[in-house]
């Protein structure tokens, strides 16, 4: 028996709202209704996890989803993921391009310099690029000192803006991981939105030491990384779940009069496999057959939200 100190029952943050001051609590039904272009009900955001996984990535403080899971030197893990940036991504480019869809690439910065041909092809396809850190071996976490983390953020943003221009406006931390300072640092680097907090279906404002960011919904629970890789479910479990999510969101948009967002989070080394690519094509066809759908990139959705609901919510506070 070790017992517990009296301080174990002290609740320093027990108060109205969240136990941190980054953003306000907002119940989904209380979100200001958003108007999408053309009166669409559901915005479809295809977000593609384009990570580079170094074979010597540290196992501490944790291995991110899809990280090096086997002992060094794991050719299995490294090459399976690298396949995504060689082969799988080109299947995704084709399947999306054939349907007039553009994605947002959540890209490890090193890909822009390691694989310049890939970077050119992504740019030529009209995809948006958002910064996803330096690579999957550079995890942002609470044990990182601020100067180091600032250097990583600036290096990632500078590299990707060098390759893709000022349209790089979003941030996704490798493995959805942040330190207490990450939000400040990505705002300081001049970015507009962040995708790491999987707590909402709609955007919301985040305050930082360098102005306001917008949190954009990027699911983890409903993603190929979670369902196909971690949970080892069959492909159809993922595609069925996406269609079910669309039905729910579309019905809510009809009932509430405000738009919703369906974010399709996919990964080239998973959905870009030969045995899965037709399932992705079928999923996209099924979604595009449903009316009231507006397919857009993250920054387009961000701007539309800021111009309507975001403005209204700002006015309330």
């Amino acid at each position: 028996m070790t017992g517990l100190p009296d301080s174990y029952l002290h609740y320093p943050h027990r108060r109205r709202g969240l136990d941190h001051d980054r953003f306000a609590f907002r119940a989904l039904p209380a979100a200001a209704p958003v108007a999408w272009p053309g009166g669409a009900r559901v915005a479809l955001w295809v977000a593609v996890h384009m990570g580079h996984f170094p074979m010597d990535a540290p196992a501490k403080p944790f291995v991110p989803p899809g990280g090096m899971e086997r002992p060094y030197p794991s050719y299995w893990d490294y090459t399976q993921r690298d396949y995504g940036n060689r082969i799988g991504i080109y299947r995704l480019l084709r399947v999306l391009g054939e349907r007039g869809l553009r994605a947002t690439a959540l890209m490890s910065a090193v890909l822009a310099t390691r694989y310049p041909a890939l970077a050119r092809d992504i740019a030529a396809a009209g995809w948006e690029v958002a910064a996803a850190g330096i690579d999957m071996g550079h995890l942002h976490h609470g044990g990182l000192d601020e100067a180091t983390e600032r250097g990583w953020v600036h290096q990632a943003v500078a590299t990707l803006r060098g390759a893709f221009g000022p349209g790089v406006r979003g941030w996704h931390s490798p493995g959805f991981s942040q330190s207490m300072k990450t939000l400040d640092l990505i705002a300081e680097a001049g970015l507009d939105y962040c995708t790491d907090w999987v707590n909402d279906d709609m955007p919301y404002a985040v305050s930082t030491g360098s102005g306001t960011l917008t949190a954009m919904p990027l699911p983890y629970d409903l993603s190929d990384q979670r369902m196909l890789h971690q949970q080892m479910l069959p492909t159809e479990a993922f595609t069925d779940a996406v269609l079910a999510a669309h039905a729910t969101l579309d019905a809510e948009a009809r009932a509430s009069g405000g738009g919703r967002i369906l974010t399709l989070a996919i990964t080239p080394w998973l959905m870009g496999q030969p045995h899965r690519i037709r399932a992705l094509a079928g999923l996209l066809d099924a979604l595009q057959a449903r009316d009231g759908l507006w397919a857009a990139t993250g920054r387009e959705i961000l701007d539309a939200w800021r111009a309507s609901a975001g403005r209204a919510e700002k006015g309330q506070t």
Partner: protein, 302 residues
């Protein structure tokens, strides 16, 4: 350390006194949404690390936060559609953090019972005086937020200490959910006072199914319906209880909510179901069956 909880005697699932539910129902069906707050920076606990990643575990924190911001509202609407009330396993700090959630629960005539203050404050090795302090705080908080009495208990994160059930009884808690040993209510042996257990579930609980066992939504619905069908059939002989624990960060996701709709549609399509709350089940059993069960147990379960 104890080799067993010591809170109940063996009682075979045969020759038991017959349970009859109100209106002759076969099955008492109750839904227990866990409405929780997991702290971003919880205090350390010698027995359990709250988050799998270093603080701040943004991914896992935000996932739970989804339940309060989005999932709860969707789940509550679906339950209201079938007029199924919830019995909330409540981290009582939610009353302070998100009073709008409590207002919605009260508007729907849901019961609130305690699941501790936060799901990141564990009871392992907690001195009894501290356990009492939590229970009293929870009692006062629930009364203040809803006007309800605190009657039920599920230890936060199922982290009970070996003393917890005794303390619950001494603090006037009427029913506990910490034990999974039965499909019917049972008296709980405590050193003073009285306490009964009523069935909770880790079998048709969305955390083990959806998060740990990777169950797709359609299969989750099928499992819940199978659980119901069997307990409903057995309830023709003697009343049974089915609890459906929910966590809005899981069941309230857009891709899963239809599964809850399907289960509730199935359950409410049956005539001999008592749509109850935990408090109602505990009160009915205590008033109508407890003495007979206790006598049967005291007689060696003949």
């Amino acid at each position: 350390m104890l080799s067993e909880p010591g809170h109940y005697d063996y009682a075979p699932y045969r020759r038991r006194p017959r349970i009859t539910w109100p209106g002759g129902a076969r099955l008492a069906f109750w839904v227990a949404p866990n409405i929780e707050h997991y702290e971003l920076e919880p205090p350390p606990n010698p027995r359990r690390t709250p988050w799998p990643r270093p603080v701040p575990d943004v991914l896992n924190y935000a996932w739970r936060d989804y339940g309060n911001r989005a999932g709860f509202w969707r789940m509550a609407d679906t339950m209201a559609k079938y007029e199924v009330r919830g019995s909330v396993s409540l981290n009582t700090a939610v009353c302070d953090h998100y009073p709008e959630i409590i207002e919605r629960c009260c508007e729907l005539d849901w019961e609130l019972f305690s699941h501790g203050a936060y799901n990141t404050r564990y009871f392992y090795d907690m001195p009894e005086a501290m356990q009492r302090e939590v229970i009293r705080d929870d009692r006062a908080t629930i009364l203040r937020a809803s006007g309800q009495s605190l009657d039920g208990w599920l230890t936060p994160a199922l982290s009970n200490d070996e003393t917890t059930q005794h303390v619950l009884a001494e603090e006037g808690i009427k029913y506990t959910l910490d034990m999974l040993h039965d499909d019917q209510p049972m008296p709980v042996k405590v050193r003073r006072g009285s306490l009964i257990s009523i069935p909770y579930s880790l079998e048709v609980n969305d955390v083990p199914l959806l998060q740990l066992r990777n169950t797709p939504p359609a299969q989750y619905a099928a499992i819940c319906k199978a659980q119901f069908d069997q307990l409903y059939a057995e309830g023709a002989e003697s009343g049974t209880v089915m609890c459906m624990p929910l966590h809005p960060y899981l069941i309230g996701q857009p891709h899963r909510i239809a599964a809850l709709d399907e289960v509730l549609r199935h359950v409410t399509a049956h005539d001999d179901v008592w749509l109850a709350t935990g408090r109602e089940i505990a009160a009915w059993f205590t008033e109508h069956h407890l003495a007979e069960f206790q006598a049967w147990i005291d007689g060696g379960t003949p």
